[in-house]
């Protein structure tokens, strides 16, 4: 890494945070069994990416990345909505939101 004026204000720091957030979200998605918490981990991953995009936009003075973030948020909102209604429907069917109960596509 290039020498920065200080580590706290360099680009790499925010990239590091973003990577860590993404990894935490990924591990959470693989580990947690509650469907709603699963969705929240996915939101976490999305935010990590948003953070990275904004960082790059700041450093390269490019507005396109921020527009991209905007649209990502739009899509995330729509997806959360539909995802939650699916969870409600799934709860009605199996009376459980344990993701491991939904393995009918096995084999």
């Amino acid at each position: 890494m290039q020498a920065a004026t200080s580590i706290g204000t360099s680009l790499d720091f925010y990239l590091f945070v973003s990577f860590a957030l993404f990894t935490i979200g990924a591990i959470g998605a693989m580990t947690r069994k509650n469907m709603i918490v699963l969705l929240m981990c996915i939101e976490l991953m999305l935010n990590a990416v948003n953070l990275m995009l904004v960082t790059f936009s700041t450093y390269y003075n490019n507005g396109d990345a921020q527009i991209f973030v905007f649209f990502t948020m739009v899509v995330a909102a729509a997806e959360a909505t539909v995802g939650l209604s699916i969870i409600i429907m799934a709860y009605r069917n199996l009376k459980s939101i344990d993701i491991d109960m939904y393995n009918k596509l096995k084999n």
């Binding site: 890494m1 020498a3 920065a4 004026t5 706290g8 204000t9 360099s10 680009l11 790499d12 720091f13 925010y14 990239l15 590091f16 990577f19 860590a20 957030l21 990894t23 935490i24 979200g25 990924a26 591990i27 693989m30 947690r32 069994k33 509650n34 709603i36 918490v37 929240m40 981990c41 939101e43 976490l44 935010n47 948003n50 953070l51 904004v54 936009s57 700041t58 450093y59 003075n61 490019n62 507005g63 396109d64 921020q66 527009i67 905007f70 649209f71 948020m73 739009v74 995330a76 909102a77 729509a78 997806e79 959360a80 909505t81 939650l84 209604s85 409600i88 429907m89 709860y91 344990d98």
Partner: protein, 170 residues
């Protein structure tokens, strides 16, 4: 100097709360921690002078989506339930996979040439509403219009999916 400390504190707090989201046993607590994470991320946006996005982030994510999550949690009345843990093996596999992912991503940072200057020195004006508005309504106008259709589809879908079917008596 103080800016530096603030950034580091913000970064570590973000990671800590994200960790709590994943690790806590209560679903409601996870939601709360996620809200805190969103607050912190918003503050990072503000540090980088991405004003519009900071506000949108707050309103949409922390304000709307998290409330939705809470509503569903309350609806399903899961407050008291404790979910079973994943097996040790799958937990191990998840950690290894995640850890490897982190490693690989960090490796990408290793020899890259990054503009090492402080974001403060960049004096980025790009995050202002005026600039973003200009860009959104000129270059990305089509995508902007299409998002309205996307919302309608999402709304209709959500309502239809969650509607209670009339019971058919055999």
């Amino acid at each position: 100097m103080s800016l530096q400390i603030i950034s580091i504190i913000l970064g570590s707090l973000t990671l800590a709360s994200a960790l709590m989201v994943v690790l806590s046993k209560h679903p409601v607590r996870s939601v709360i921690y996620l809200v805190i994470t969103f607050f912190l991320i918003t503050s990072m946006y503000i540090m980088m002078n991405a004003q519009f996005l900071a506000v949108v982030n707050m309103i949409v994510y922390a304000g709307a989506i998290m409330v939705l999550f809470l509503f569903v949690l309350m609806l399903l009345n899961l407050n008291k339930e404790v979910e079973p843990m994943a097996t040790r093996g799958s937990q191990l596999a998840a950690f290894i996979a995640g850890g490897s992912l982190f490693l690989v991503l960090i490796t990408a940072l290793k020899d890259t040439l990054i503009l090492g200057q402080s974001y403060r020195e960049n004096h980025s004006q790009i995050g202002l509403v005026k600039e973003l508005g200009n860009l959104l309504f000129s270059k990305y106008i089509v995508a902007f219009e299409l998002t309205s259709i996307l919302f309608i589809a999402a709304m209709v879908g959500a309502i239809l999916l969650a509607k209670r079917e009339n019971q058919i008596i055999e």
